[in-house]
């Protein structure tokens, strides 16, 4: 009998109508919602009533007991504990190393170092004079995020040294160029970080499939399924009971292992989180459980559609490979095709003709004589502000297109639970795409302030200097501007250390979490439908 017509609240007058698939499809979302509300509303009722009175709870308990008996739960717990501890150990070492790296950089800012000498050789009267040496400090790097211990994400990308100064291809303009990555070990660079995100993404999904793949197919093979269903129990009850059983079998060991991991982090490795960070941690765990639920539902769906356990596990593993390994990585490739962008080199080269046009306009007017920049051409001082604006606009456009492409990739990645999960957790940990985009925005604003400073400098200091006194004053002014530029740099890096507020991070992660919830609901609905039509003989 159709499980939906057997429910008194959903009884349609004409049961033949329920077999009309078209009508059914239109009404399915409503029916599904009602089913869920029914269970949800029934939950306090189930708990208040004695356990033995509730069929769902009986079935769930039976599932959990079975999972304990066949060692699935103990094995899952041990595996998760070992892997989470190992992950926290390795990632905390990595964080410590990066933090030491940052502290060295910080300390090096107050080193008084020479890195260049300007010498003037004046040919009159054999005078050779050596003048001021420029003191250049190492470009500042951003402090690593503490929560990168859980999800390294894009933290190493944001750790690169950034120099805001001369544009890469157009010397009169101001741009920002990324320096080397702080990680020089090539194996570390190419490996996926074995962080909590990685462990959960791979292991929890596999464990979920393992808990769920034989929930229905196994019982069908053993013959107990038809025995169970021949009694006064609805199919829906059986499915929900198994779902709850499998979910608890996975969620409870996971939470216990995660808590052990947190205790280890705090007591042994000395990581302490503050108030807001605890909220992030809690949300990461919640996201992980939601992620596990997706695969439990998927496992149940596959189990309901499979005739044997062997078929069930084969299909389940194929889906796993597709959803976790292939799809997220394919979105990278797809977005690159959908939104082709020039490489950084190409873009930098493309800015040169724009600048040269302005230069030639100034040259045509003949108002000043320029000087040569090797590799760029003749540069006229009066063209500089305009060139800076053009270069700035071109750079901003390029960045906007890149960020747009990244957002598209993120949207496409929601077609895979693993993709949505990765984006959500990295954002919650402060090492995700949202944080990265905010980081780029801060760099852009820093560069804009340097442009303003450069324009101001140009307007204040003239290059036609008549005598010694004026030269001295000009030198002083230059030193002043140099100091201002350094201060702007320091301000920029202070701002980079600040992580965005948890509200913003959660806001970014919310659509991904919603995608996970939608996946779970969809899989469960499909599992219910499949089980409803399944032949249990």
């Amino acid at each position: 009998m159709d499980i939906l017509t057997s429910d008194s609240r959903l009884q349609t007058p004409d049961s033949r109508l329920s077999r009309n698939w078209m009508v059914w499809c239109f009404t399915a979302p409503v029916r599904g919602a009602v089913v869920f509300v029914d269970v949800a509303m029934g939950w306090p009722v189930i708990r208040r009533a004695k356990a033995s009175d509730s069929q769902v709870w009986i079935i769930a308990e039976k599932e959990i007991a079975e999972n304990v008996r066949n060692f699935k739960i103990p094995a899952a717990f041990s595996l998760l504990t070992v892997l989470i501890l190992m992950s926290f150990f390795l990632m905390s070492l990595d964080y410590q190393k990066r933090l030491d790296n940052w502290s060295t950089n910080r300390a090096a800012q107050s080193d008084k170092l020479f890195s260049g000498i300007t010498s003037n050789y004046r040919s009159a009267d054999n005078q050779m004079t050596m003048t001021a040496s420029s003191v250049q400090s190492e470009p500042l790097i951003r402090k690593p995020m503490m929560m990168s211990v859980m999800a390294k994400g894009l933290d190493s990308l944001m750790e690169r040294s950034v120099t805001i100064g001369e544009h890469a291809s157009v010397p009169p303009a101001v741009g920002f160029t990324f320096g080397a990555s702080q990680e020089r070990n090539r194996n570390v660079m190419t490996a996926a970080a074995p962080d909590l995100l990685f462990m959960i993404k791979i292991i929890v999904s596999l464990l979920a499939l393992f808990f769920a793949y034989d929930a229905i197919a196994g019982e069908k093979e053993m013959g107990t399924l038809k025995a169970m269903l021949s009694g006064p129990v609805r199919r829906r009850t059986v499915l929900i009971g198994k779902w709850i059983g499998a979910s608890l079998s996975l969620a409870v060991p996971f939470l216990m292992a995660a808590l052990i991991g947190l205790v280890y982090l705090r007591l042994v490795r000395g990581f302490s989180f503050e108030g807001a960070e605890w909220m992030r941690v809690a949300l990461i765990f919640a996201a992980s459980i939601l992620y596990g639920l997706v695969f439990i539902s998927l496992g149940l769906l596959i189990s309901a559609r499979s005739a044997t356990r062997k078929q069930s596990i084969a299909v389940a593993l194929a889906c796993w490979v597709l959803l976790v390994l292939v799809l997220p990585n394919v979105t990278t490739l797809v977005t690159e095709r959908l939104r082709p962008l020039p490489t950084v080199t190409e873009h930098n080269i493309s800015v040169i003709p724009l600048a040269r046009q302005i230069e030639s306009e100034v040259a045509a007017s003949g108002s000043e004589e320029g000087f040569e920049f090797p590799g760029y051409g003749i540069h006229h001082q009066s063209a500089a502000p305009k060139i800076r604006q053009i270069a700035r606009q071109a750079d901003n456009d390029h960045i906007a297109r890149k960020l747009d492409r990244d957002r598209l990739a993120r949207t496409l990645a929601r077609f895979s639970p693993a993709g949505a999960f990765s984006y959500a957790v990295t954002d919650l940990a402060g090492t995700g795409l949202g944080e990265f985009q905010s980081y780029i925005g801060k760099l852009q604003r820093g560069r804009d302030r340097q442009i303003e400073l450069a324009d101001e400098k140009q307007n204040t200091i003239s290059i036609n200097i008549a005598n010694e006194a004026e030269q001295k004053k000009a030198n002083e002014k230059l030193a002043e501007f140099f100091e201002k530029a350094k201060q702007l740099n320091r301000d920029l890096y202070e701002s980079l250390v600040v992580m965005r507020s948890p509200q913003e991070a959660i806001g970014d992660a919310l659509p991904d979490l919603a995608a996970l919830a939608a996946w779970s609901a969809l899989m469960l609905m499909m599992a219910a439908l499949a089980f409803n039509r399944a032949d249990v003989r």
Partner: protein, 450 residues
């Protein structure tokens, strides 16, 4: 007898739905991957040509104290990623500083989140899983269906049966490996505008890579047979194998670099950079002193114009060489320690057959760490030999008489060198095959077939 059973099993498996569906799915996956990678390859090839042209013009314009040499993407880039965007493809050579390597391709956020998959991934990850799925019930499946005791009761030795199963399964998987590589290569060749041109050495490299792939899937096959003959039921066999697979393919290879960092720490980048800057600063202080002495000399000897500039140039030249040498020494020291760390992590990873296969495939496709090192070595040789010769000539002749600057062309690693690099990894794979086969023999002899 062995061959008969093997051929029978092979034919049985070949014409089953699960094999055909796997083959089709594999080819679809490979095609999607290759289409994307070929596009990447073309972009990189164009970028390389553009850069080479740009540098050529730049060198003519500057007074040639800075030269940039580039490396093209490896020939098999349409199929294998290797180090990918993390590999420096440009090295800056100058008179006054040691060679500096750069990556011209900036790592994008999306790629950092999800690195692109390549053909190597398809074979190593997907086919190893398929190998396990085909072999986990090799013994337990037959036992459960009752055919095992029937076969063994017909004077077929256990060793023969085991070997036959192994050969049949490996041959089945071998078909998949070769299908993947062949379809990938064919598609890469046929795509319009594809830069995928194979010479003989690359074709041989591809053959070697397929051999490595077959060795890897054979390891997983025999592992599946081993576990299958150790445990009584199919589902526990699969559970154990899945655990082993996850450990070998995901946990261990990604954890080993971090383990190596713990076991063999090196200076951090900032520490090395700071020491370098301190030495640099000392050198500049020295330059100031020497220039002051030079100024005195000019004043005493009342030198003018070109002679004065000659003094300055001599001072600068000697100082440049000294600075370059001391900076080189510092960098070499840092690089040596880093390399030790990298070697350790490579060694740890190579202890597992999956890790060895990864390294072997990367080296054979000329996209691994070895080709990276080779590029650096060749650039150093170019710097020491040709560029210094040219700068000497430059100093002696006038601008008009100067010969054009030497051109650097990167040649990909010759096949012999690639093979010698992967000798260790190949022996690891063969050793695992042998050891696991012996273990399976022992386990199967003790197996209760009733």
């Amino acid at each position: 007898m062995l061959l008969t059973i093997a051929v029978k099993e092979f034919r049985e498996r070949l014409f089953r739905l699960r094999f055909v569906s796997t083959l089709i799915a594999l080819i679809v996956l490979v095609s999607a991957t290759v289409i994307a990678l070929a596009y990447e390859h073309r972009t990189q090839a164009d970028d390389y040509n553009r850069r080479v042209e740009f540098h050529r013009r730049e060198v003519e314009k500057t007074d040639f104290n800075l030269m940039r040499v580039d490396r093209p993407a490896p020939a098999l880039s349409s199929l294998f990623n290797g180090l990918g965007a993390n590999a420096p493809d440009q090295i800056e050579l100058s008179d006054s500083a040691p060679p500096e390597s750069r990556q011209t391709i900036e790592t994008e956020a999306t790629e950092a989140m999800f690195p692109a998959i390549d053909l190597s991934f398809c074979i190593r990850v997907v086919l190893s899983l398929v190998a396990l799925l085909f072999s986990y019930d090799a013994i337990t499946g037959e036992k459960e269906s009752g055919t095992l005791k029937q076969v063994l009761s017909n004077s077929v030795s256990r060793a023969t049966l085991l070997a036959a199963k192994w050969i049949a399964l490996t041959a089945t998987m071998g078909v998949l490996v070769i299908a993947a590589l062949a379809s990938g290569a064919l598609l890469a060749r046929l795509l319009p505008g594809s830069p995928f041109v194979i010479r003989a050495s690359d074709a041989l490299a591809l053959l070697m890579i397929s051999a490595v792939g077959i060795l890897l899937v054979s390891v997983f096959t025999i592992l599946g047979i081993l576990v299958s003959s150790l445990v009584p039921s199919s589902s526990s066999s699969l559970a154990i194998l899945m655990l082993a697979w996850v450990m070998m393919v995901f946990v261990f290879p990604n954890a080993s670099p971090y383990l190596a960092v713990w076991l063999s720490p090196a200076q951090t980048y900032q520490q090395a950079s700071r020491s370098e800057k301190q030495i640099n600063s000392e050198m500049y202080a020295q330059l100031k002193e020497r220039n002051a002495k030079g100024a005195e000399k000019v004043r005493d000897e009342k030198l003018k114009g070109p002679e004065m500039q000659e003094v300055a140039r001599q001072i600068r030249k000697a100082w440049n060489e000294e600075r370059k040498e001391s900076l080189n020494r510092l960098r070499e020291d840092y690089r040596a320690r880093l390399r030790q760390q990298e070697k350790k992590s490579a060694l740890i990873a190579a202890l597992s057959p999956y890790g060895s296969a990864t390294q072997a495939m990367a080296a054979l496709s000329d996209s691994g760490m070895e080709s990276d090192d080779r590029f650096f070595r060749l650039a150093r040789i170019f710097d020491d030999d040709q560029l210094s010769a040219h700068s000497r000539l430059r100093a002696e002749m006038s601008k008009a008489q100067r010969p054009s600057p030497p051109v650097f062309t990167y040649e990909s690693t010759p096949l012999g060198e690639r093979l010698s690099v992967v000798a260790f990894q190949l022996s690891v794979l063969i050793a695992y095959n042998a050891a696991l086969f012996i273990a399976s023999l022992w386990a199967f002899r003790r197996y209760d077939v009733r």
